[in-house]
Amino acid sequence: MLRSRFAMGAIDAGLALVKPSSTIRKRIFIMLSILEASPHHTGHFLPEPFKTYNLIKMVLRMIVTVFRTASGLLLLIRYGG
């Protein structure tokens, strides 16, 4: 299940609420920090310029986030945390 990109994000979101210090989240966190400390990915970790387009994008992303979190919680209930 964790090989699925969608499932990984959803499970991370669900765990963020029910078990924030889980091993899965820790692994993602380490990968995230390694990426951040690489000059090739710097742009993905610096503040986004404020534009109306970005604001709209952010609102849409937050809607996706809500669905991602709900799916994650369902997956955790179904398959266990």
Binding site: G9, P20, I28, F29, S33, P47, E48, M58, M62, V64
Partner: protein
């Protein structure tokens, strides 16, 4: 056995300044220290600003994350969480040599050259008369001592509403540091709401820091690289090792590292200092006419308890409670974080509810960037990919408030030295730090008042994070100042009661810790203690 006139134990803020006073007076001084240094990262970090490093340096993962990934925090926020990998040497070897046993007290100790001061946030505060009385410090000569200390290290600040809580009485200060647009906006909002906030006891001022805005000797004024948590570019931020380095050029000063002082004994007209070589475990002894201990409050407590043979005696301990509060200022969403900035505190909010300059709360405001995004992402209860996107969007509007509270002793706050056959020193420190219900309620009340003030200043708090007791890295009171000549106390002048020639130059005597940082006062006190040691015959 080696013999000198004066021995100073420890190279931290107090030891360095006591030694400087002795050396300048022509005394022959030996400084004993473990003296760990950063031999791994210091030369690796380019003298560039944070963004240039982020975009260009292929090696950045080594010092940002650490070769052993020690810079990737996980779990609850504990002591040392604020230490970046290049600062990890500050606490190196302490688990081995400074054994501590406590479930509710997590102090940070140091065996580094420069001590805990190597990671100091550089805040400089002159204490008020009521605060000094509560501490129990002899006030004679203290104003001059504050000025001497400030002159040595260089203090930048402003004569504004916050001045009476930080730079009052300092004759020469450098101009204040430049502040980010986010912080400037908070400051201008304060000016608009000044009367209402002042009526409630809140005063806001520019930060007073040991960060140069003008060149001072070999040290360069800050170039706003935003790298203060990782390196000491240009020596702009004062560190105690700079004083030790400068003293090492003097003929009457000798620095001896790799030794840990364990106890002392007074024999004849002098003092014998017992130490252990940390490389081979061998005992080593030194003798001197006067001993000045500046091992940090917990280190000095260990030495004193062993020297007096009171192993079961409980000593009081105090440490400022603190919390930090990430806030968002939505009106700053469209702003940009300037390329040139400082990571250090940019604005102070003082809470003087009784308007008497006693029991004043102190909050420092920071903007966030150089500690990297992933540490913020961890705190957000979302999938990390979403948290990252959200934080990238919000970052220009994020302000962090670090809130410190004043602290007094209590029956639940103590340390005691107990035997431990597995420890290389034969003992370990056991600590307890429990606040009474009244103290807890008072802290929550002050935190609520601060939250209210932050909201009035346009900062919407997102979360309050309470680190463990002891992680404020401000300690005091283990050998409290006392007029009575009792063992394990200090005279107000800094002599250890029950001894003739042993002085304590660190914060061990402080019976009260103002919320404002104690470092400048430690320097001033160390200077006076050294002067008294010179006068003492």
């Amino acid at each position: 056995m080696e013999q000198v006139d004066h021995i100073v134990v420890g190279s931290g803020i107090s030891g360095a300044h006591a030694a400087q006073t002795l050396v300048e007076a022509g005394a022959k001084v030996l400084m004993l220290d473990v003296g760990n240094r950063d031999l791994k990262y210091a030369d690796m970090i380019p003298d560039l600003n944070f963004l240039e490093i982020r975009k260009n340096d292929e090696n950045q993962h080594r010092y940002f994350l650490g070769d052993d990934f020690c810079g990737i925090p996980w779990g609850s926020t504990g002591v040392g969480a604020q230490l970046t990998p290049p600062r990890a040497f500050i606490s190196k070897d302490t688990e081995m040599w400074l054994r501590m046993d406590s479930g509710d007290f997590e102090p940070l100790e140091s065996l580094a050259r420069g001590g805990l001061g190597a990671g100091w946030g550089a805040g400089c505060f002159v204490f008020s008369k009521p605060e000094l009385e509560a501490i129990g410090l002899a006030q004679e000569g203290l104003t001059d001592a504050y000025n001497i200390a400030a002159g040595r290290i260089g203090v930048s600040g402003a004569r504004d509403d916050g001045a009476r809580y930080c730079v009052d009485g300092l004759n020469d200060i450098q101009g204040p540091i430049d502040i980010d647009p986010q912080i400037a906006d908070v400051y201008s909002m304060y000016k608009r709401k000044r009367k209402r906030l002042n009526d409630r006891g809140f005063y806001v001022g520019r930060s007073s820091l040991a960060l140069l805005t003008e060149n001072l000797g070999d040290r360069r004024k800050t170039s706003y690289t935003d790298m203060e948590f990782w390196s000491d570019p240009g020596g702009s931020t004062y560190r105690a090792w700079m004083t030790v380095d400068a003293l090492s050029k003097a003929r009457n000063f000798q620095y001896r590292d790799r030794v840990l002082v364990t106890r002392f004994s007074e024999e004849g007209g002098g003092v014998t200092v017992h130490a252990v070589n940390v490389d081979n475990g061998e005992s080593v002894r030194f003798t001197c006419r006067k001993l000045i201990i500046a091992s940090g409050v917990l280190g000095t407590a260990r030495i004193a308890i062993r020297s007096f043979g009171y192993r079961k005696e409980r000593l009081p301990i105090i440490s400022n409670p603190y919390c930090y509060v990430p806030c968002v200022r939505f009106k700053m969403l469209a702003s940009t974080i300037p390329e040139s900035k400082t990571s250090l505190a940019q604005l102070y909010i003082f809470y003087d509810r009784n308007h008497d300059n006693l029991d004043v709360g102190a909050a420092s405001l920071f903007t966030y960037r150089s500690l990297l995004m992933f540490k913020l992402v961890k705190e957000v209860p979302l999938a990390q990919v979403d948290a990252l996107r959200l934080m990238r969007f919000l970052l220009p509007s994020i302000t962090i408030a670090g809130i410190f509270h004043p602290e007094r002793g209590g029956s639940g706050k103590f340390v005691e030295l107990v035997r431990d056959g597995g420890s290389p020193t034969g003992d370990r420190l056991r600590a307890s730090y429990r606040l009474s219900k009244e103290e807890q309620n008072e802290l929550r009340r002050m935190d609520r008042a601060y939250i209210g003030a932050l909201m009035r200043l346009g900062c919407l708090p997102l979360k309050i994070i309470y680190p463990a007791h002891g992680s404020s890295i401000h300690y005091g009171g283990a050998l409290p100042f006392s007029e009575r000549d009792e063992p394990l106390t200090l005279s107000p002048g800094g002599r250890m009661n029950g001894t003739r020639s042993v002085f304590v130059a660190d914060g061990s005597g402080f019976r009260y810790l103002p919320a404002k940082g104690i470092t400048l006062t430690l320097m001033a006190n160390a200077h006076l203690v050294a002067k008294r040691a010179l006068e003492n015959r």
